[in-house]
């Protein structure tokens, strides 16, 4: 089956957006959990 350029570009944008979106959300969510449960003063060590 032959695919047009528009279909290929659409698939690239759709797949990349889904995969990157999931990754960025995962990182945001994990950091949020750490922030909510961090010991007093946060989990990042101060100077």
């Amino acid at each position: 089956m032959e695919y047009g350029n528009t279909a290929i570009v659409f698939m690239v944008v759709a797949v990349v957006s889904c995969v990157l979106g999931l990754s960025f959300f995962g990182v945001y969510y994990l950091n949020k959990i750490v922030d909510q449960n961090a010991p007093e003063g946060g989990s990042v060590r101060k100077t």
Binding site: Y3, I8, V15, V16, L30, V34, A38, V44, R45, K46
Partner: protein
């Protein structure tokens, strides 16, 4: 039920890998116990050494009976079997001695209420010598039945070295997983933090080792294509299950790594996450057992039983269907693009974390840059998945490329080295304005060079 061995040869194939490969993992735990000076972990390792010593008995008995059966097969060399028997019995005798010494030390320490350093080092020495002898015994054992390893390389579609590596490598995630599960369950029961972390680390390492195991397996498929007596349909059935194993390993490895990362920041584990890792691990082990059985059926006619119906259609299953699908440009190009984004995430994250460790941006404490590590790990997951799909598209060409094997080796090294960033106590305490320890700088250099090498190796595939 077909996984339960019904002959001595089948039982020998299963049980014999535990003393040898298992010894490597127990030695790894033992070294960790010494480094962390954790008494409970040292005692657990002594128990494991004793169990391995006990496993020497069924290994010997099944091997002896297996020899009696295989000696009637004209295709099996008697000389090879005699050599394997000699090395095997020597290494097993030493393993029994290691296990007995570990058991005596456990018994003695209950009365003395502390472990003796001398005895612990004696067990370590005996275990190392046993392992060296077992490596030779294992190598001579594999040669007995794997005649394809001696075929003329000029007639093969991929070098037989891939098959050889796959035969050895596939036992690491499988046996390692069993040991990780034993240690992990013991850690949950004993509520020992160091053992929980050791179990999680081993799950991650097994998941990383799943990548070269899968790739060498794909290469072995081509090396075995056209070899008399080997069915392509049986290979595909094994390949399908290996695909599910890779997914299982990925789920277990990523959840285990996230828990290690979270522990670093919070200083405690979440029970819910720990049991989620356990659930993934148990399911993955079940899938892995079936994968191993199907793999064994490819080249071991002696383990097949009458009720085991071997597949006959080489085009049946998931793998040939994915192969056909990914060869359409509309599926290949998006996943290839994801692969490039994945490398951007991995290298970007590795660059920031490694440069901080090497002495750049000292105004930031290490714990701040440690926060972005999940982005790199998600990049690895993206690339394992997209890379596997790309490999499906034209595996024979990729596997014969000069830079493909170094690329896979560097992925393994780079991914395992990244674990250090979430494990090192000294690195975690590096505050703003402070310099990282020298050992951490070496690891950072290894991480950077490995991932740079992976990208270069990948790009050169089409040209070298």
């Amino acid at each position: 039920m077909h996984l339960i061995p019904q002959s001595s040869s089948h039982f020998h194939l299963l049980v014999s890998i535990f003393p040898s490969i298992g010894l490597i993992f127990v030695l790894g735990f033992y070294a960790t116990a010494f480094a962390a000076d954790n008494e409970a972990m040292k005692r657990s390792c002594l128990v494991l050494f004793a169990i391995l010593g006990l496993l020497a008995i069924p290994t010997y008995v099944s091997g002896d009976r297996s020899m009696a059966v295989l000696s009637q097969d004209p295709k099996i060399s008697q000389d090879l079997m005699t050599t394997h028997f000699g090395w095997g019995i020597t290494s097993l005798a030493l393993l029994v001695l290691t296990g007995a010494t570990a058991l005596i030390e456990l018994w003695r320490s209950r009365r003395a209420e502390r472990l003796s350093n001398g005895a612990l080092h004696l067990v370590l020495g005996l275990a190392i010598v046993s392992l060296a002898l077992m490596a030779i015994a294992g190598e001579t054992g594999w040669e007995i039945n794997h005649h394809e390893l001696r075929l003329d390389p000029a007639t093969q579609r991929t070098p037989q070295a891939w098959s050889h590596v796959h035969i050895i490598l596939n036992h690491f995630p499988t046996v390692g997983f069993v040991f990780a599960l034993v240690v992990y369950i013991a850690a949950l029961v004993m509520n020992n933090v160091v053992m929980k972390r050791a179990g999680l680390v081993l799950f991650v390492i097994c998941a990383i080792l799943g990548v070269p195991t899968y790739v060498t397996g794909a290469a072995s498929m081509w090396a075995l294509t056209g070899v008399p007596g080997i069915s392509r349909a049986a290979i595909n059935a094994h390949r399908d299950m290996a695909l599910w194993t890779l997914f299982g390993l990925a789920f277990t490895g990523v959840t285990a790594w996230i828990e290690l990362w979270r522990f670093r920041h919070l200083g405690r584990f979440s029970n819910r996450s720990l049991y989620l890792v356990l659930a993934f691990a148990i399911i993955t082990l079940g899938v892995m057992a079936e994968t191993g059985h199907r793999g064994g059926q490819i080249n071991h006619p002696e383990i097949r039983v009458a009720t085991d119906a071997l597949p006959t259609d080489p085009k049946a299953g998931w793998s040939p269907a994915i192969e056909s699908l990914i060869n359409h440009v509309i599926w290949f190009v998006p996943w290839q693009t994801v692969h490039f984004f994945g490398f951007s995430l991995i290298f970007g994250t590795a660059l920031v974390v490694s440069l901080r460790v090497l002495g750049f941006w000292k105004s930031m404490p290490f714990s701040a840059v440690h926060r972005i590590l999940p982005l790199g790990v998600f990049g690895v997951v993206m690339n394992v998945f997209s890379g596997m799909l790309i490999l499906f598209a034209d595996s024979s060409r990729y596997l014969n490329a000069t830079t493909f094997a170094p690329k896979i080796a560097l992925i393994t090294i780079g991914a395992i080295a990244v674990l250090y960033f979430s494990l090192s106590e000294r690195l975690w305490t590096v505050k703003a304005g402070e310099d990282a320890p020298m050992s951490a700088k070496w690891v950072a250099a290894v991480v950077l060079l490995s991932w740079a090498g992976v990208i270069m190796g990948g790009r050169l595939i089409s040209y070298v």
